[in-house]
């Protein structure tokens, strides 16, 4: 049996958790979920859709919102009762920290960013995990009775297996110390723009933009395509664009339908953030730039002259 800790925000499941469930189901038919906090019961239906038949719902009257250590305590409680072979979570900030707490409390190893897992014995496993944002693959042997792992985004497809999930509610055993750190507020409520991580189209600019001015054209194109604007690290380092728009290993990792890279050469750190795009189009004056080896379509041209024409034609095509 494998437990998946499900990352949700007030009942909204982070879709990466479905990939985690599917990853777990490649190893074991019996995959059970742990969800914690109010509103979490509504997660059960969705999880059932992906083959989870049991959802452990932990609550406590002092858990009003996501509380990392309390979530860890909830998973530990289920672990103690059901002795799973493994506990998985998505490699989101929450999934990662909950598993890190569990690992620290039980002094267990934790493998993160896994793209392949093989349970080789009762207390051994071999994993393939991503280093350097996926530019390097590590194969390792882990010795632990309970394998703790986070799953690399998009390494596994979320596979549907519709069915009903039974909810097992339980009280999370928490102490005051477990509740010290938790969400107290949210800021920067969703604006009308599209979030970079979820955007279906990302229109991204790099050093070749030659300054902040040309990004107005990228905004315009993103607006037409209903997408978000991204950029490379040189752009944020130069202060041309806010850091929130940075795509890459230390920025946001995106997996859109279409990634448009304007004037981006394709450093390792940038590719780590955009290689999950379904289609990648690169526009660059250098036909030999590294990004070209990742691109599906290439335009070797000056972006400053291409963009106005492209915007005009895209707008016309949309109007038609």
């Amino acid at each position: 049996m494998i437990i998946v800790y499900v990352d949700h925000d007030r009942g909204e499941i982070d879709p990466l958790s479905f990939q985690v469930v599917s990853a777990a189901r490649t190893l074991d038919d019996d995959v059970q979920a742990v969800v914690v906090g109010p509103n979490a019961e509504k997660c059960a239906d969705e999880l059932g859709n992906f083959g989870v038949r049991t959802v452990h719902h932990g609550t406590h009257d002092r858990i009003a919102d996501y509380t990392p250590l309390a979530s860890a305590r909830a998973v530990l409680d289920v672990m103690d009762r059901l002795t799973p072979r493994a506990v998985f979570a998505a490699g989101t900030p929450r999934g990662s920290e909950v598993l890190a707490h569990i690992a620290a409390i039980r002094d267990l190893p934790l493998v993160t960013e896994c793209s392949a897992i093989e349970l080789t014995g009762p207390d051994t496993a071999e994993v393939t995990r991503a280093r350097w944002g996926g530019n390097l693959l590590e194969r390792s042997k882990v010795s632990a009775q309970v394998l703790l792992a986070t799953i690399q985004a998009h390494a596994f497809a979320a596979t549907e297996d519709p069915g009903a999930a039974q909810i097992e509610a339980f009280d999370v055993p928490v102490t005051d110390a477990d509740l010290v750190v938790g969400i107290v507020d949210r800021t920067g409520a969703q604006a009308s723009g599209v979030g970079l991580a979820e955007a279906k189209v990302v229109v991204s600019g790099g050093r070749g933009m030659d300054g902040p001015e040309a990004f107005a054209m990228l905004e315009e194109l993103a607006d037409i395509l209903g997408g978000a604007v991204g950029c490379s690290r040189v752009v944020t380092s130069a202060g041309w664009r806010p850091h929130a728009e940075q795509v890459g290993q230390t920025g946001t990792k995106v997996a859109p339908e279409l990634y448009l890279a304007f004037g981006i050469s394709g450093a390792t750190q940038h590719i780590a953030g955009c290689k999950s795009a379904k289609t990648l189009i690169a526009v660059n004056t250098d036909a030999q730039a590294p990004i070209m080896t990742h691109a599906d379509y290439a335009v070797v041209d000056n972006l400053h002259t291409l963009l106005p024409a492209l915007i005009e034609k895209a707008r016309a095509a949309k109007g038609a």
């Binding site: 409390i105 693959l137 750190v181 800021t187 990742h294 379509y297 335009v299």
Partner: protein, 252 residues
Amino acid sequence: MEICVCIKRYPSLGSAIVLTEDGMAIDTDKLGFTLSPHEECAVEAAVQLKEEHGGTVTLVTLGPEGVEEQIREQFAIGADRAIWVRSETTDVDPQAAAAALGDAIEADGTAFDLILLGSESADNANAQTGVRLAHRLGRPVATAVKGMTIADGTATVERAVGTMREVYTVPLPAVVTVKDGLNIPRYPSVPGRIKARKKPIEEVAGNLADPRIELIGLTVPVRESKGAQDLGAGDEAADALVDVMKQIGVLS
């Protein structure tokens, strides 16, 4: 305010990674070293806090000969002193690393109000050392933060979720792991460099536990050129791009 920042040195990579012959490590013979952006932000945050509240910034790092280079770099930014836990490699099992860092911090005896780390290492991305260190030291922890203010003995931190930010409060003393974007790290100045030369580095022997995660080998994923289709240039390219966008359904 006494602030501790745990830093780690990494090779600066280009667009291709070359491994050692045994496939167990990156061949760094021709490479330079740096910190990850996460850690640069952590040091910058610490220096800003020092500038605001006074106190000292102590660096702690785990690694072999050569890490002084990164320590001096951060001294030039404004860190004051460093504890260098000697190890044969920076590629240390996260459980062992957290324990060794914890030992060094305890042995040092400074009552740190705040211990900062990067949210995850640029190379191995284990994303757990900070949390393990917090448990080791019995401190509360917040992770992957992109915003932080300190007031009245409490750190108020923000974490990005989609386009929103969730806010946490953490009573000090605490451990906080930070992400790139927390601030824009400053560049070292020449006077900073000159001062950096005189700042103390205290060397301690690392006592590292055996790893629980045993490396079998590394591989560089074969990057096959997708054989990008050339869409030409100019107007012709603009037309072709519109067609592609229609075809994949992002423009209708």
